[in-house]
Symmetry: C2
Subunit: 334 residues, 2 copies
């Protein structure tokens, strides 16, 4: 049977166009049978589908969701008041079993809150968490949490590590993934009260391959498969990392101007730099999994373009096939 | 009268050689009269001074400090047990008025603890703090705290902002410097409990030019003259930032190899990149001021080379001349 993904047509800065394009591309490029349920206001989305000339053979169905949750809506208000939104109805379809997963590049807080409300938490998980991809010299490290939980107790960091370990092993295929605790020094005993306590708890957790503290300077050098931190630190780091390539391009342009480099040399420099930058481009990863809710939810960057949406849909299909929710339930002893 | 700086000869990974070289260079390049008291074990330092062929005209005097505080010593143990160390005796000379300032690239925790013990805090300052230089597209932002205080109450962040404002205005000459609060979103009400409370307090402080929240993605673009955060976040960010250029060089080398770029093109790329990287090089700044103790203390990077030590000595002379300790006392109502 074809795998079915519920997609929030209204999520992200470039919605609905980028989402529609990404969904169509994903269906066209899928290796395995795939269906998409697209949630959004029919009066806004249907004309765009017509315009895109979507063939009636394509397994894409629009479901009317008249309420629109804006990026500026508070999560609490969104959950309570906009019950006919693409986020509510898409998650509802997943809950009912009409879809195997839900994805959105929209208001992260609203997706998170509505996921908790609609799907519930996996028993034993206190704080569902979004894991992100952090670019390094040797592929990506998974950073968890990236902004969902900004006030954390040490036990929460341990739960983040456990969830990310299950995800990294079963979805990304890394055997026994290593976990580093983000800290201000490598030695045990370093850090604030939160991480000092988390260090001890992580060391005691037999199902976590804890390799100790990692510092800010280790991150880009692939310090560990998984980097654990609270969502305040993780969000700042991730955004800082994402800004690096833009700034680098500006600084390089300034310097080439200063050196009065001939155009052909400028092209050489730009050709090298744009390839290096690609590794740091958030769009190339598609989305970030929301771990710990009782379902498959993937959250995209607000800036997601059609490519990113397409990638996210394929990554979500992998997530569903890996059966990660059941693996998480096992890990948390449900 | 010549300004006199007490220098820890044993501080840093490259001590004592780099410190000696840096001190000699600083004396040679100083525009205004300068004296240096060098603190370290005579049996180790004097032979190196002899080797360097230091002229007897040079206003450099070695003071014997037989105890050596290692980078691995705990600050508490260092303060209590190694009373004949270069850090103790150098700060003691500053306290007595034999020197106008003390600098070290050694064990930061030990310098901090011994400074508190020897010089005391400025009345009203709860937590002295080290401010760091963070590279941006348009010069440096001052980040405070960069690792001294890892568990902070909101009021501490306000004190950091106040101290950094005085420093930036009186030492760096920036009129009415702007202060940004590092956070996970720009809107008021964002963040963890600590920064939410700090946001309100900063807004109420009439002597602080608070411009609101800044995000991780804003940092490299010069979000504000001063960025306030707790030392846990600040330390991780600063180390991450410092690692950027090393990683970038490696990635660029990999990519040029992959593209099989001819040597002359590789040189063009390297020529642009090395200039861009210089802005991110911590060594080019010399040192970071310890603000809030009743004296002039500058702390260098553990990796400091002779150049960095020389820069730090000149920056310390500026610090003394700016009379920043008295300005801080005024700001804290002493």
């Amino acid at each position: 049977m074809a795998l079915c993904i519920a997609v929030d047509a209204m999520g992200g800065d470039n919605a609905p166009n980028a989402v529609i394009q990404g969904a169509i591309s994903a269906l066209e490029s899928a290796d395995d049978p795939l269906q998409i349920l697209l949630f959004g206001p029919t009066d806004r989305v249907q004309p765009l589908l017509d315009e895109a000339g979507v063939s009636s053979d394509l397994p894409l169905k629009l479901v009317d969701a008249p309420d629109v949750i804006e990026m500026t809506d508070s999560p609490a208000a969104a959950v309570k008041k906009k019950r006919e939104s693409s986020i509510h109805l898409g998650l509802g379809a997943h809950k009912k079993g009409d879809a195997d997963a839900f994805i959105s590049a929209g208001n992260t807080g609203a997706v998170m809150a509505t996921s908790m409300f609609t799907l519930g938490r996996i028993s034993g998980v206190e704080r569902p968490s979004i894991a992100g991809y952090f670019p390094t010299l040797r592929g990506f490290s998974i950073v968890v949490d990236i902004g969902t939980n900004v006030d954390c107790r040490p036990e929460h960091l341990v739960q983040f590590a456990r969830m990310a370990s299950v995800y990294t092993q079963h979805v990304l295929g890394t055997e026994n993934p290593s976990v580093g605790l983000l800290n201000i020094g490598e030695e045990p005993g370093k850090g604030n009260e939160q991480v000092k306590a988390a260090f001890d708890l992580l060391g005691e957790a037999e199902d976590i391959n804890f390799k100790g503290n990692v510092e800010g300077s280790d991150l880009l050098d692939y310090a560990a498969d998984i980097i654990v931190c609270d969502g305040f630190v993780g969000n700042i780091l991730l955004k800082f990392g994402e800004s690096m390539t833009t700034v680098l391009k500006k600084m390089t342009a300034q310097e080439m101007e200063r050196q009065q480099l001939p155009p052909e040399d400028q092209q050489v420099v730009a050709g090298v730099l744009s390839e290096v930058s690609k590794g740091f481009d958030a769009d190339h990863r598609g989305g970030a999994p929301l771990l710990g809710v009782d379902g498959n939810v993937m959250i995209g960057h607000g800036r997601s373009n059609a490519d990113a949406i397409e990638q996210m849909i394929h990554a979500t299909a992998d997530l569903v096939r890996s059966n990660v929710v059941n693996e998480l339930k096992d890990a948390f002893g449900e």
